[in-house]
């Protein structure tokens, strides 16, 4: 019995060790047919000539094989975002940064912002960017679609070629307020199919390319979705099971944990170099940082802090990228609420504030001052420091002037205001700095901190006499329309949006600029509008806050990072891990 036990134990050990061992390499001989080019001398019309000839020969080659082939490790990029969870992956509703990041990898558009450089357009699903033509006073843009662009396969619908039907369906969906959050951008636009690979877009009112192309670009409503899977699964399911044509396709979603995207083998620009992207939700900066340092994560959302950037750049194997586009923080005054309805009070506040104090909270190179509603550093139509200085509209720090203006307006001892702020640092820092600075002229600001989504809800209900808003908008028209056009006034506007000031003074300039086809005149109109905003001190522009992401040094995005509208480094088919 004892002997049996010993033998059994030995046998089991041998078997276990055998199972654990690497497969033994073996040399085998294989017969293969190869094509060889041979040179032959032939006589042509009496002259010897050397010609090359292709011949097929059979060769025996030796190959090292293992009994069980070792499977190739999939190349997965692990990205950690600061968001707590997914909002939606329907690109026409995606507004939160994390949602925009994901849809950017899944969908394409007719044209796209060049990866890593949001200042240039290039063709995407369209073969080229067309020149518009005027027909009966209307502007017509004709797009020829690439052939062979495949929609991702889904449970309901197998992969199929994207045609004009999908493009027309998608742009009509974007224009429908029931199925898109960006419907307002598509007013006065008609989309028609000419043939399977041609789409005609007609604008009732001709507009400049600067304003037209963002409507069909890879941002917000411009993303093209695939019609058949959308109809097969319905709008609700599409939010968590998106189907597009992009380099990555949806694989799985674990709420509050991650979204996994896998490579689209049939991507029209070639198969991505990554096999998959794991997009993880990690709201805690310290957890993300530890994950990156330990090598469990490859790319993380960083802190908008100069000090953090400097420290992380000193870590071995870690690189921090600071890039545009910079989200602009602006202080909006409600012109209908006393005492802010008095321009002297608003100017007094402007003179009591010091942009550099706000800026110091973020530090170089993360943030920089801005002097107009549209950031001149990123978009045409903004005002530079020099321009506002020459116009005498910089409102430099001058506490005596501020106090004198307050006294003139009947508030020599200041006044009190109550505001709500998001708990996010990009907001709370600015609110608290404003609070401390205005206390010097007797203005007492009480801050009630609420969670980020509650703040967005409350400020749209017009609860704040002063709103600090941090946002990026793709062009000057969108900035000015959404923040200063009377239609966009919160609660009471025709299309309530983010006009927290209740300002109505530049509607004509915004509308004139929108239909101006001469780019120089258009820019001039935008500048005039912003000069008026500063003269009336409707809002006080603070700073733009750049994007900060940190990565392991083996991550190569495949493009240079200058500015990205989707506010992340952009993961494309060229992104790779070089270990």
């Amino acid at each position: 019995m004892k002997r049996f036990v010993i033998i059994a134990t030995l046998l089991a050990t041998v078997l276990i060790l055998g199972a654990c061992a690497q497969p033994t390499p073996e040399v085998v001989e294989k017969e293969v047919i190869v094509t060889q080019i041979v040179k032959e001398t032939v006589i042509v019309e009496g002259t010897p000539q050397v010609v090359e000839k292709k011949v097929e020969v059979t060769k025996i080659i030796k190959e090292v094989v293992t009994a069980t082939p070792v499977p190739k490790e999939p190349v997965v990029l692990r990205y950690a975002d600061k968001a707590a969870d997914l909002g939606t992956m329907d690109p026409h509703f995606a507004a939160a940064t994390n949602d925009r990041n994901l849809v950017d990898m899944i969908f394409n558009a007719l044209v796209r912002y060049k990866p890593g450089d949001g200042t240039q357009f290039e063709p995407d699903l369209a073969e080229e960017i067309p020149e518009p033509v005027i027909v009966d006073g209307k502007q017509v843009w004709t797009f020829n679609l690439r052939r062979g662009v495949m929609c991702h396969p889904s449970e309901q619908v197998p992969a199929y070629e994207l045609t004009a039907d999908d493009v027309v369906f998608s742009l009509k969906k974007s224009a429908n307020p029931d199925t898109s959050a960006y419907a307002g951008d598509y007013n006065g636009m008609t989309v028609e199919k000419v043939d399977d690979y041609t789409v005609k877009i007609t604008m009732e009112q001709p507009i400049s390319p600067v304003l037209f192309l963002p409507k069909v670009a890879d941002y917000a409503g411009g993303f093209i979705i695939c019609q058949k899977p959308y109809e097969a699964m319905g709008a609700e399911e599409f939010k968590t099971h998106p189907v597009g044509t992009g380099p990555f396709m949806f694989d799985s979603y674990s709420p509050q944990e991650k979204v996994v995207l896998k490579a689209n083998d049939n991507y029209f620009r070639g198969r991505p170099l990554l096999d998959a992207v794991e997009y993880r939700f990690m709201p805690e900066l310290n957890s993300r940082e530890l994950g990156l340092r330990s090598g469990e994560l490859d790319v993380i959302n960083g802190a908008a802090e100069g000090q953090w950037v400097r420290r992380m750049n000193q870590e071995d194997g870690i690189r921090v990228d600071v890039y545009g586009v910079g989200e602009v923080a602006t202080i909006h005054f409600n012109l209908t609420v006393p005492p802010l309805d008095d321009v002297r009070v608003r100017k007094a506040i402007a003179y009591a504030l010091d942009r550099d104090e706000f800026l110091a909270l973020f530090g170089e190179p993360v943030a920089a001052n801005v002097y107009s509603a549209v950031p001149a550093q990123f978009l045409p139509g903004g005002l530079t420091k020099k321009e506002v200085d020459e116009l005498g509209l910089e409102y430099p720090l001058d506490l005596d002037k501020a106090k004198a203006l307050l006294a003139e307006a009947g508030y020599p001892d200041g006044f009190s205001l109550e505001v709500v702020s998001s708990e996010r640092e990009s907001y709370l820092k600015n609110y608290q700095s404003m609070q401390a600075q205005l206390a010097k002229v007797g203005i007492d600001i009480k801050i009630n901190t609420v969670d980020h989504s509650s703040m967005h809800k409350l400020i749209r209900q017009d609860v704040n006499p002063i709103v600090i808003y941090v946002a990026w908008r793709p062009n000057a028209d969108v900035y000015l329309t959404r923040f200063y056009h009377s239609d966009s006034i919160v609660v009471t506007g025709a299309k309530p949006d983010t006009n927290f000031s209740h300002y109505t003074g530049i509607d004509d300039l915004i509308e004139q600029a929108r239909v101006e086809l001469d780019p120089d005149k258009q820019i001039e109109l935008w500048k005039q509008a912003q000069i008026k905003l500063l003269e009336d001190m409707v809002s006080y522009p603070l700073q733009y806050q750049n994007q900060v992401t940190a990565r392991r040094d083996y991550v190569d995005y495949g493009h240079e990072l200058k500015s990205v509208l989707a506010l992340y480094p952009q993961i494309t088919e060229n992104t790779r891990i070089v270990k």
Binding site: E284, L285, N286, E289, A303, E305, Q307, W308, R311, E357, F358, A360, L361, E423, E425, L428, K429, Y431, Q432, S433, Q435, A436, A439, K446, I447, N448, T449, V450, D451
Partner: protein, 308 residues
């Protein structure tokens, strides 16, 4: 007729020995002494943070005394500076002096701790006393309510109350008070049940004393000792809950310094400037420890079951 005239010796020696016993027991408990000293230091720090006792009667703005700087004063260009001679505990992410904010923050912590325990204690005492003495339906109803309230962890309960009331200092005190009240109610209830079985209560009832009078004159003084002990221990819990609520942004409004929100402000710079979270964390640790040690000491003296 006085007792002396009847030749009865007043038991004054018993009273003295009781006091002596109390002092003796307390002095023998070294951890209780430590708790008392620490509590006294914290109270003094909170009291002398600035010269309010001089400035307010004169109608002036108080100026920092133990705190070196105005806790709201921002020096953003030197933010996150490490501790040095000027700033003993360094500067926070807004460039405010951390030592000064901790000193002023002690006021918030003590105010919340004491006030919420006072509210919770009063509520609990009333519920426990009524339930214990009246019995029947009143007892059943009140004690089941207490059971329901006790089913929630203190932080969750505090969050629920603040979700209804909204954030802010007063609401937070009220919320913590409500959170603590069931514990006080339980203790008051059991103490009332035990005291009401005494003959002197029956005697009072026999001579026609009203229910209110019996509760006020005969029951309340006899259960108050236990409640005081409980209060001293639960002040520490109240301070901890306040720090937790401030940490998640539901406490006092910025820029008022509160230890919990100071820790939260520092979490995004834990690796760059650990002092921003470390020192307020230590302040909470020491304060909670002080009240717990003091409470334990008082319990040892006043709880007859623990008397040696």
């Amino acid at each position: 007729m006085s007792s002396k005239s009847l030749g009865v010796v007043e038991p004054t020696f018993r009273l003295r020995s009781q006091k002596q016993r109390v002092i003796h027991t307390f002095l023998r408990n070294r951890t209780a002494i430590l708790g008392l000293i620490l509590t006294a230091i914290i109270l003094l720090i909170a009291f002398f943070a600035d010269n309010w006792f001089v400035a307010l009667p004169q109608g002036k703005e108080p100026t920092p005394l133990l705190a070196h700087y105005n806790p709201l004063l921002q020096d953003t260009r030197n933010r996150l500076s490490p501790p040095d001679e000027d700033h003993l505990m360094g500067l926070d992410s807004y460039g405010r002096d951390i030592w000064s904010r901790i000193v002023y923050g002690a006021r918030v912590s003590l105010l919340v701790g004491v006030s919420s325990v006072a509210i919770g204690g009063t509520l609990g005492l009333i519920m426990g006393l009524l339930a214990g003495y009246l019995g029947g339906l009143v007892e059943n109803t009140l004690m089941r309510v207490v059971d329901i309230l006790m089913a929630f962890p203190s932080l969750i309960m505090g969050l629920m109350v603040l979700a209804v009331l909204g954030s802010g200092l007063f609401n937070m005190i009220l919320a913590i008070g409500i959170v603590l009240s069931p514990t006080f109610a339980r203790v008051a209830h059991s103490a009332t049940l035990s005291v009401k079985a005494n003959e002197f209560v029956e005697a009072a009832r026999a001579i026609g004393a009203s229910r209110m009078r019996i509760m006020r004159v005969h029951l309340l003084p006899n259960i108050l000792g236990e409640m005081v002990v409980l209060a001293s221990i639960w002040i520490a819990t109240a301070i901890r809950v306040e720090a937790n609520l401030s940490f998640i942004g539901l406490g006092v409004s910025p820029p008022t310094p509160a230890w919990g929100s100071m820790i939260r402000d520092g979490t995004s710079h834990l690796f760059d400037a650990p002092w921003e979270s470390l020192y307020p964390g230590l302040a909470i640790l020491i304060t909670v420890l002080a009240f717990n040690l003091l409470g334990d000491g008082l319990r040892d003296i006043l709880d007859p079951r623990l008397q040696r």
